[in-house]
């Protein structure tokens, strides 16, 4: 039985702004095992990127973790001092950001930037050892050694993205977070990158948290997944189980509103309205204003929002489960 690499328990985070507190992450609980690939899916504003930055404790200045715990290999990250966190970041957990292609410093060569990251955690390594390490990483992601001496602007989008993945792997982390790493790329290159990520994961036994709004990618890349809406997880469980038996209304709608190139051409369901404002928190089911089949209880508010187990390991918001 593989052990849990990352356990997030009842995480609550909000941003303090002029207009009030934006409750970005509400009672988020999930865990990722060794070697497992976990997907986090949701639309803009659902909180998935906030979760990503919180896991690395890299949030902006006005973000506050009000409660909850993040245990990385049994090490509690919430409340850790900055100097300890710096040892954990990249060494144990790293991230491939959205728009990561622009994360490169344009005046420093690629190889040098990766070396810098390694040096931070292994200051005793020689330059030769580091170069060797980078060369191995490049082989894994499918890049030529000569890329080390190139500047970012000399590389194509796909190459830069692969280099970012190499950067994320440079200190042999146990778990990597990929926050929409292929959004800006062509579908053909995206396919190649996704294949690379999968290959790397199997090769190194890495855990992966894949964050995306594209459920098709999540379907292909992940073993387990969670669906987020308005800062909370509304459904989570094994990917196959969620796709074959979605219980929450939002999950169902998400699946039914994605056009596909294969299979029969079916009429898709549309979703009206917009996600709710997260200022000062929400009462009851956040999705009820947009739910196409709300029950009487849904619109009342004051519901006990808890996840209950539908089937083995598959959890969904209890109200929706009860609605059927």
């Amino acid at each position: 039985m593989a052990k849990d690499i990352l356990v997030v328990d009842n995480l609550n985070m909000h941003y303090e702004t002029l207009e009030g507190n934006v409750m970005a992450v509400n009672n988020v609980t999930f865990s990722v095992k060794e070697g497992e690939s976990f997907g986090l899916v949701g639309e803009s504003g659902c909180g998935k990127s906030s979760v990503a930055s919180t896991l690395l404790q890299l949030q902006s200045d006005n973000a506050v973790i009000s409660s909850g715990s993040i245990k990385l290999d049994n090490q509690e990250l919430v409340g850790m001092s900055e100097s300890d966190l710096r040892k954990v970041r990249w060494n144990d957990i790293s991230i491939v950001f959205q728009g990561a292609m622009n994360a490169w410093n344009p005046v420093i060569k690629i190889g040098e930037q990766i070396r810098e990251a390694i040096r931070e955690h292994h200051p005793s390594n020689t330059k030769k050892e580091n170069t060797q390490k980078i060369s191995e990483l490049f082989k894994i992601v499918g890049l030529d050694d000569s890329i080390m001496d190139r500047y970012p602007h000399e590389l194509s989008g796909g190459m830069k993205q692969r280099a970012v993945i190499a950067l994320a792997l440079s200190c042999d982390p146990k778990i990597v977070i990929a926050d929409e790493p292929t959004t800006a790329l062509d579908v053909v290159i995206q396919d190649q990158i996704l294949k690379e990520i999968k290959k790397v994961q199997e090769l190194l036994g890495l855990s992966l948290i894949y964050i995306s709004h594209d459920i098709a990618v999540i379907a292909e890349m992940t073993d387990n997944m969670a669906v987020m809406y308005a800062g909370s997880i509304v459904e989570k469980g094994p990917t196959a189980s969620i796709f074959s038996n979605p219980r929450h209304a939002y999950t169902r709608l998400l699946l039914e509103s994605t056009p596909s190139v294969v299979g029969e051409k079916k009429k898709l369901r549309a979703l009206d309205g917009e996600p709710p404002s997260l200022i000062n928190g929400l009462e009851g089911c956040a999705f009820s204003p947009r739910c196409p089949d709300p029950s009487e209880d849904c619109s009342k508010g004051n519901l006990n929002m808890e996840l209950i187990e539908v089937e083995d390991g598959h959890w969904a918001d209890q109200c929706c489960v009860n609605c059927g």
């Binding site: 579908v187 098709a216 549309a270 996600p275």
Partner: protein
């Protein structure tokens, strides 16, 4: 054949020769001789990856940027005949502008942030002096209802930044369709919207196409979206159309290696589905694709399915 637009060998080159005194004229052949036509009431999807020339095509067809060469004929409903873009006099250019519109990709930048929604939608009517002032306001109200922005008085005095992305796209659609054009070019109008909102916008556009008898040239990089919106799909690569066919035919029976590669790269929202349909060695594919880049004639393989290639047998693997 009642076509709304006929394009023949459209070419658009960009001159990127460096330096003031340079002798070498280096040319970027953004659109390298494409041809297609769209029958009235039907929609054509133009699918390709970034840099393939689809946006350049759109801009050339709208007369935003001048084309380098090629024959483009448009149907002019007032004259009830096909007119060549090159031969238009001033009055005909105005008619052309009434009948051809474009919906843009970015909902945040395609509406003037200093104008109210009312003014934005009124503008086409004001420019072309259609109807009286009262009629114009009524028309604006009507179209707002049609695109689902009700009650209209809630939206008229607002500014774009007060609306969501989906609402802004509806305003763009309203503005484009208020003059009842026959041909609308859609440049990835839903790619910047949330996934759950895309369908409602696409359904709206489909309904309007049926009700108002509008033809779309739908530009997208997403084959799945093109499938949802269009009768026919043209696949573009490196400035050329490599394959064009009816939608279902293209997806179930792709012939050109690039089309095959495109289809097989798309992730499918079903964890049990394995994309092994086209067991293609990508290196071989790359070779075939790069070899097939001279100007190849389009070969008819039946059922209105055209592929760019010298010898079809080569590709019917």
């Amino acid at each position: 054949m009642d076509n709304v637009i006929e394009v023949n060998n459209l070419i658009k080159n960009f001159d990127v020769s460096k330096g003031f005194f340079s002798r070498n004229k280096s040319l970027v052949k953004a659109v390298d001789g494409i041809s297609f036509s769209i029958p009235k009431g039907e929609s054509l999807g133009l699918v390709g990856q970034s840099g393939c020339g689809k946006t350049t095509t759109a801009r050339a067809l709208c007369l935003l940027d001048p084309k380098t060469s090629g024959d483009v004929k448009f149907y002019n409903p007032e004259a009830d005949e096909m007119q060549n873009l090159d031969d238009l006099n001033e009055e005909q250019v105005k008619q052309f502008r009434r009948n051809t519109q474009m919906i843009f990709q970015d909902p945040y930048e395609s509406l003037n942030p200093r104008w109210t929604i009312k003014d934005i939608i009124l503008e086409p009517l004001n420019i072309h002096n259609i109807g009286s002032l009262e009629n114009r306001t009524e028309a604006v109200v009507e179209i707002l209802k049609t695109v689902g922005l009700t009650p209209p008085e809630n939206y008229l005095p607002r500014y774009p930044h007060e609306l969501s992305g989906g609402q802004r796209q509806r305003v763009s659609i309203a503005r484009s369709l208020i003059m009842n054009p026959k041909f609308v070019i859609c440049d990835e109008p839903t790619s910047m919207l949330d996934v759950s909102i895309r369908i409602s916008i696409m359904d709206l556009m489909l309904d309007l196409a049926k009700d108002l008898q509008v033809s779309y040239l739908y530009i997208t990089h997403d084959l799945a979206v093109a499938r949802y919106m269009c009768n026919r799909i043209a696949v573009m690569f490196n400035g050329k159309i490599v394959e064009i066919a009816k939608t279902e035919d293209l997806l179930s029976n792709p012939i050109h290696p690039y089309t095959k590669r495109l289809i097989s790269s798309i992730p499918v929202p079903d964890p049990k589905y394995t994309r092994e349909k086209y067991e293609i060695n990508f290196d071989e594919l790359d070779e075939i694709i790069s070899n097939n880049t001279e100007n190849l004639p389009m070969v008819d393989v039946g059922n209105e399915h055209f592929v760019a290639t010298h010898d079809v047998k080569d590709l019917l693997i």
